[in-house]
């Protein structure tokens, strides 16, 4: 378990291409993470490879198996001369070569014995990835990690099928990086600073150059004020009203001596932004759900930072915020002279800073009431939280125990897929559960030898019937699917392992950086059709 020394390379250069995705703080979170892999199969080592390269803190492989010939055939991180050696050890050594800044450890024990001898062993990890576990060990491990709220990713590659299940009790995300987010401009409810600034500008008395370089945000503000005067203080709401406002703006374009409108780009921009910028400021439903969550309403000494921040945010909204979230404080690029653009930028920045200070005071007060030091939550953390207040997300998965429990199985979802048209990826989930049942009965997987394929088909079919019966479902799985499953013979195809190695590692990175929303909770990939589906089971 020797520690490797740092690479001595400048991390800013080495990690440049990924820092552009998750930033320095995301990278720091990765570098602090301890990842555990159970079973260094091809899929397992591919997953680790893809988190070691971007620089997690350390990894530990738990694997009681010795390297076999067929392991070497599909696993890049085992060599022909490793046959007979500890799979955990060989894989740890070869994976360790990928990045000198990552520490590698291994335990040559099966997860079953480890759970028995030292059930607390797993509690020190940031995330655990388990490959090809049998049901009993899986549920036991799942229970231990669930208790400690450590995320567990269950993964499996079977023939052309890839399977991933995330089990985490609670995962909170501040930076969810939404695909398309509207700007936070508050044109419907202008804050005092914005009002003062816009009102200080008089369009009538401006020179030609000033007129054509007044930021569209200011133009829109002014025309909305004018609109409100004749519309009961309401902003334009529907398509028709917005078109009327656009017409008003167009009429504001200056004309030259001959009465021909000048080319004023800022007015064009104001018109194009009517639809996207003139929105009602409100609390997104996801954020409202956080406010209503017992974790937010009952802050106690055990509360996570995220919930303390949520509570402070909630209290802010109902006090200083006058019903609104803190201002994000950024504005888009626009045609303007730089002086007024910078002034406008500062107007938004200052309000955002004021909001942030109010929330910081609330966070500190909450921390104090809980007997924690104010330094427990850094200003940067609060700033990031405020900037992302509209995009906060919460993932709570169903537990493995619920998924596997006869009374709690998601019967409706499964039934829907069972009865759907051919090509449904979820049928393979049912088949995977079927081959596990087969394993329990015969102590081997169907079609393990080519000669077994045909005779195993009816056996697997029986297993599936029993399984569906246990679930209280009456449908059946088509024979060709069962045949296909037997043909796979539990083999691990490398290209599928490579694919799932990428997918699972990506989820691990999302979880470790607490950026982006992870898959909730089951993902099935069909390599032959190149299709995949996400469902909650």
């Amino acid at each position: 378990m020797a520690e490797t020394k740092g690479s001595g390379l400048d991390k800013n250069n080495k990690y440049d291409r990924q820092l552009r995705l998750w930033g320095d703080h995301g990278q720091s979170a990765l570098e602090a993470a301890r990842v555990c892999l159970i079973n260094a199969t091809a899929t397992g080592t591919e997953i680790l490879k893809n988190v070691i390269l971007p620089g997690i803190g350390s990894f530990t492989i738990v694997d009681g198996h010795k390297v076999r010939g067929e392991d070497v055939g599909n696993n890049f991180f085992l060599l022909a001369d490793s046959i007979g050696k500890s799979r955990a050890q060989v894989a740890t050594e070869l994976l360790g070569e990928l990045n000198d800044d990552v520490t590698g450890n291994f335990v040559e024990e099966s997860v079953e014995t480890l759970l028995e001898s030292n059930p607390d062993y797993f509690s020190t990890f940031s995330v655990v990835v388990a490959i090809n576990l049998h049901e009993k060990a899986l549920l036991q491990l799942g229970g231990v990690l669930w208790e400690k709220n450590i995320p567990l990713l269950v993964c499996r590659c079977y023939g052309f099928i890839g399977y991933l299940r995330l089990a985490v009790r609670e995962h909170t995300i501040v930076e969810s990086h939404p695909d398309s987010a509207l700007e936070d401009l508050r044109l419907d409810r202008p804050f005092p600073g914005l009002q003062t600034f816009c009102d200080s500008l008089n369009m009538e008395t401006m020179t030609k150059k000033e007129h054509g370089h007044t930021p569209w945000l200011v133009l829109l503000y002014k025309y909305v004020q004018e609109w409100k005067k004749t519309h009961d203080g309401q902003i334009p709401k529907n398509y028709k009203e917005k078109n009327m406002l656009k017409e008003m703006i167009r009429k504001g374009i200056r004309q030259n001596e001959e009465g021909v409108p000048e080319l004023e780009e800022n007015f064009d921009e104001a018109v194009t932004h009517v639809n996207s910028a003139l929105v009602t400021t409100r609390i997104p439903s996801e954020v409202q759900a956080l406010f209503d969550d017992p974790c937010c309403t009952n802050i106690n000494s055990e509360s996570k930072t995220f919930w303390i921040l949520c509570r402070a945010l909630h209290d802010f909204v109902h006090n200083e915020g006058n019903g609104d979230l803190p201002l994000r404080g950024t504005i888009p690029d626009m045609t303007s002279d730089s002086e007024r653009y910078i002034q406008l930028q500062n107007v938004y920045r200052e309000q955002a800073a004021t909001d942030m200070t109010a929330i910081r005071n609330r966070v500190h007060a909450l921390l104090q009431s809980l007997g924690r030091p104010c330094g427990a939550v850094s200003d940067n953390e609060i700033k990031t939280f405020c900037r992302n207040a509209a995009f906060l997300r919460l993932v709570r998965c169903r537990s493995l125990a619920e998924e596997y429990g006869t009374n709690t199985v998601n019967k409706d979802e499964l039934n829907m897929h069972l009865e759907s048209e051919e090509g449904d990826d979820l049928l393979f989930y049912i088949l995977l559960r079927g081959v596990d049942r087969f394993y329990d009965e015969y102590n081997r997987y169907p079609g393990r030898d080519n000669s077994d394929v045909e005779p195993d088909i009816p056996k697997l079919k029986t297993c599936l019937t029993k399984l569906l019966h246990d679930w209280g479902l009456s449908g059946t799985v088509k024979e060709d699917y069962i045949h296909e499953m037997c043909r796979y013979g539990a083999s691990e195809v490398h290209s599928i392992a490579s694919y799932m190695g990428g997918v699972v590692a990506q989820e691990v990175i999302k979880i470790l950086t607490t950026q982006f929303v992870p898959i909730n909770n089951t993902y099935v990939y069909n390599g032959f059709l190149q299709t995949s589906t996400t469902v909650q089971l």
Partner: protein, 589 residues
Amino acid sequence: MAATLKGVLQGSLADNVKNSKILVVGAGGIGCEVLKDLVLTGFKTIEVIDLDTIDVSNLNRQFLFRKEHVKKSKSQVARESVLKFNPDVDIKAYHDSVMSPDYDVNFFKQFTLVLNALDNRAARNHVNRMCLAADIPLVESGTAGYLGQVTVIKKGLTECYECQPKPPQKTFPGCTIRNTPSEPIHCVVWAKHLFNQLFGEDDPDQDVSPDTEDPELTAEAGQSALQSEAKTDEIGGIERKSTRVWAMNTGYDPEKLFNKLFRDDIKYLLSMETLWKKRRPPQPLNMTQLPSDTDGNSSAIRDQRQWSVKECANVFSDCLGQLKKELATQGDGGMLVWDKDDETALDFVASVANIRAHIFGIAMKTRFDIKSMAGNIIPAIATTNAIIAGLIIMEAIKILSGKIKSCKTVYLNRVPNDRNRLLVPCTLDPPNPKCYVCAPKPEVTVVVNCTRFKVGALQDKVLKSYLGMVAPDVEIDDGKGTIIISSEEGETEENNDKFLSDFGIRNGTRLKCDDFLQVYSLVVTIAHVEKLEEEKEFEVVGDLSELQPQEEQQQAANGSKPHNGGDKADGQCTVPCLNPWAVLTLSDL
């Protein structure tokens, strides 16, 4: 090895895999993954070609390389690393450009399959044509950050890489860069041009001095500016001698350079008054009278902190000294090549771009952001490449099973879409009968002003850069067979500076263009116009019907003709980007 595959890859397929010969073009992010996947899927004979050498910034994903391999050949190190793990495969590595004439159609014909793992459009175009000429199936791929895509190209059966026009790579009009920048990127481009003018290869298209031929200038305004040139000559010499020679003569003196570039040239620009009637005029800077530092935000790390103008000027000074030394080590006539991963070269561009931005009232940017803009950096991570490589191998396996018709174009989304799909597979489209590459008799129309467009520009900008030819031969289809461009060195160079009209080329003239390496013939019809919009020098129109006036086009677009990608879905296709190739054309591997 790969014994477990027997059951899954049935009978003849396992043999097909074993007996096939695969060419992997590119040994970068996707290439490393593909090589590993091929070997572990049972492929035995592989050749890999890559021109590039290994950089530190590759190590976060190109797992066949270690820090001790930095600056070595990607293809050769990749080969050695794979062989270390699996000695019983036959891998041949070429440290070379796939566009070299050594890799002709016979070279391509020896392969069962070609797998592209490229990062640029020029090479993709070329390999596309080589595979069409050799009639070898091609699996094409690309990644950008969390996004990726894979598709299969087979002559006569599917669209080729060039069947659908791609968005042009973004360029900026010269006068925007030289006279009237309005966005940060304009300043970054100018700064890179300045680097090349001072230390790199001289390129007349990268002039950094004020442009007196700006079409916005009236004849009169240009005239008065020209007259004032005598004045500027005294203080620095705008056009007398090249910027490079002048800078060298001053010994790359920071103050002299600064005051010429950021004071005198700006004053000169101000003298072109028409430009500033509606724009905010730039404000000249004097190196000894810079605005004082105000921002006390010095706790942030250097890369992500906004430098003040004064700081920029200091960095500019330091860089000049450094780069001057580096240039001296190159010997007489030597030059430096700008590289985004070279600290000094990047510092130079970051400081210059910011000073210029300040002058023009444009938002200044951090070094981190400027690196991204100047280097066209596309984020790249191991996970996406691993996913895409897995998809590539699955498509390859389908081709080898004789199931090419069930191959798909697969898009990888950043997160599952509204239908809970992370992957979006689409059936392959048939070839575009009007494609200027894979149609039986490809034709294209080039719109130019024949009296102002030179033969050299036809060769470099139209045929090579835009139409992707490597070594074109061009003959006028006038019955006499006048050859205006020859791929043989020394035969037609003297034509390069002549205008098309000098050879009697006019509206409607047909040019027969051939590229022997690509086994590609294209008929170019010239359409003469006096002036193109947006100051474009030329325009290539694949389909003449596209030349119809805007309004008609609008009608056609609103009519029944679906946008590419809109109707080829498997009933579940929501194409993540409008142009399905947009991701590919961005990728950096």
